[in-house]
């Protein structure tokens, strides 16, 4: 009797190990890891929203496709620490059989996880972070920069406004890598479009009061004041621009602002502000329907990153189902070859540098009296096609592109 059980167990394990071969789905389960900032400065952008999006994608996929394999979601807080993120990713890949990691907001974290993912030959779909380093100097065949990058925002705003005649710019830039890279990209696109940079100042991160900086920007007389910062710095800069009435004479542009910022500041303060995003919950019926479901689960409308996570997980699972394997190389090749058109991305495709390029939109923030319902924030000013928004491949610093 004992022997029989042993034999059965042996036979089952043999079957299981065959299924785990290169052309099957390991363990007959696809595991998706959501590595998010659950309590730090990015937790409003990612956090709970990222997890809900990933779970919704899995639930919808399983309900719609009834796949022959199981799908699991595991989640963790990376605490904005690169070592925590990297060791969690390693553990997921080595011991938990995770096939794909997503979110990874915070560029330093994304870069660390990207390295581990390449080493372990799995898939990383970055829907949180947006530093151009991820798809340039440190690009990887295993990493897809899925949601956004700082170049597309700065470039689209710089070019569009300059071409519309607002051609003198002043930058209020936070004094670290993020601010400087945004300013660099915006400067190039303004100058290329025939505009002029009349000045800029670099302020320390977390400065308590922005009146002084904004007054200097005001006295430059520039048509546009570009705010190259994020989070609290961006919020306080925009507040002061409104308090001193600077936004009545000059255009205030949040070069890396998102709907989460608009929501935090309120329409009273942000009205008239221009920003570029790749997704807005109210952009069409498909987005509205999904967003409403997201709202019911979280109490807030999804931002760009939430929608991107949903889309990334969905497209990854579809690829695995179509191919019948979760082998990273095969899935990545498939994703690189197929256009993405869903509620998040229009005309999306993944380039050799790992950037998923898709149409982005120039929005103007509504005046309070124009807003008809909660979360009704944006007026669409212009759709910017994918090929115009992103960094041209000819300028790429990614070794995968050159070879």
């Amino acid at each position: 009797m004992k022997n029989t059980i042993k034999n059965i167990l042996f036979a089952t394990s043999l079957v299981a190990s065959t299924a785990a071969g290169a052309d099957g789905i390991s363990g007959n389960t696809v595991k998706i890891g959501v590595l998010a900032d659950m309590s730090g400065p990015f937790s409003d952008l990612s956090g709970e929203g990222a997890i809900v999006s990933a779970r919704m994608a899995v639930a919808d996929f399983v309900a719609g496709h009834k796949p022959a394999f199981g799908v699991e979601v595991v989640t963790a807080d990376h605490q904005n620490k690169t070592d925590v993120a990297a060791s969690r990713a390693r553990e997921w890949y080595d011991n938990s059989g995770v096939d794909m990691i997503t979110d990874v907001i915070n560029s330093a974290v994304a870069l660390a996880v990207s390295q581990v993912t390449r080493e372990k030959d799995r898939v990383l779909m970055v829907t949180g972070a947006g530093s151009t380093t991820i798809n340039n100097e440190q690009c990887s065949p295993n990493t897809i920069l899925y949601a956004w990058d700082t170049y597309s925002l700065a470039n689209s705003l710089g070019r569009t406004l300059t071409e519309q005649g607002d051609d003198t710019w002043y930058f209020v830039t936070v004094d670290y890598a993020l601010g400087k890279s945004i300013e660099y990209d915006a400067t190039r696109s303004v100058e290329r479009s025939g505009g002029k940079i009349v000045g800029s100042l670099h302020h320390p991160m977390g400065a308590p009061d922005f009146a002084s900086f904004l007054l200097q920007a005001q006295s430059s007389g520039a048509d546009v004041i570009g705010i190259a910062s994020a989070g609290a710095d961006l919020h306080n800069a925009v507040r002061v621009a409104n308090e001193f009435g600077i936004n009545r004479r000059q255009k205030i542009v949040g070069l890396a602002a998102s709907m989460t910022d608009v929501h935090a500041l309120g329409l009273e303060i942000t009205q008239g502000m221009l920003l570029v995003e790749g997704f807005y919950w109210n952009q069409d019926d498909e987005a509205r329907q999904w967003s409403q479901r997201f709202f019911e689960k979280t109490g807030k409308m999804p931002n760009l990153l939430n929608a991107a996570t949903y889309s990334a997980v969905t497209n990854y699972l579809s690829a695995v189902e179509t191919l019948g394997t979760d082998d990273a190389g095969t899935v990545l090749a498939y994703l690189h070859e197929h256009e993405i058109n869903d509620l998040f991305a229009k005309n999306g495709r993944i380039r050799p540098d790992g950037q998923m390029v898709h149409d982005v939109y120039l929005f103007e923030v509504k005046r309070p009296e124009e807003s008809k319902e909660p979360w009704d924030y944006y007026k669409l000013r212009e759709t910017i096609p994918a090929e115009k928004a992103y960094q041209p491949l000819s300028e790429s610093r990614c070794p995968l592109v050159k070879s």
Partner: protein, 293 residues
Amino acid sequence: MDIFGVPSQALMAQLMIGLVNGSFYAVLSLGLAIIFGMLHVINFTHGAMFMLGALLSWAGLYYFNLNYWVMLLLAPVVVGVFGIVLERLFLRRIYKLDYLYGLLLTLGLTLVIEGVVRSIFGVSGKPYGPAPISGVTDLGFLIIPNYRLWVIAASLTACVLTWYGIERTRLGGYLRAATENPKLVETFGINVPVLISLTFGFGVALAAFAGVLAAPIMQVSALTGQTMIVIVFAVVVIGGMGSIAGTIVTGVALGLVEALTKVYYPPASSMVMFLVMVLVLLVRPNGLFGGKE
């Protein structure tokens, strides 16, 4: 006329902004100085209390439709009572220990308070607005929102009243005596532990008062206090730990120094205070106005 390449008009404008920030630093630092001076506790929760004041003023308006002026009185009272509870429950137990224990305890409490606020309200914060005083005043060299002028007036008034209360009234006298020699003061029939609790409550109430003043200017978020606490510590150390008048003067002065740095070399504007702090400590280890211990 230019002063080192900056038009004098623009420089005046920046100094005016510096005065707003300086008076604000003064009132915020004052509570910290009182708590240290009287209780010998390095109160790290001060930034969190500031944040709670700002958050309460937002919450009062948002949930209960209580306007700014009501909350300017109510928020400090609520935060003050909360401070007294903390003092009774926790701080009281460590007065006999080294300063370091107070610092660690209050740092821990800060993390708890900020963590709770963050998990309820998120990190992006809440918009308070519009400012309760609208309109602008043209000073010739600067068009300044009237609300900022009110911040200067309210802060400096609070500073002067506090200084007067501690240095010139009988109650202030008891308080100073109680910290020097509690046993002796108790023999006069004064309840020293209650006096100490009230002092702590008053100190954190000042932080909350500053928070309400700041709410219409700054984004109110769980982390608002973190930026402030570091600045405020520098002010107290430079002024001389525990010196009331020294703290007020230093707060205003540092606001002005910061304003000048923002004009001439903005990236250093958050660092300049600490440069001043290092220099002062090298020359006068007890701070500019600190007595010898």
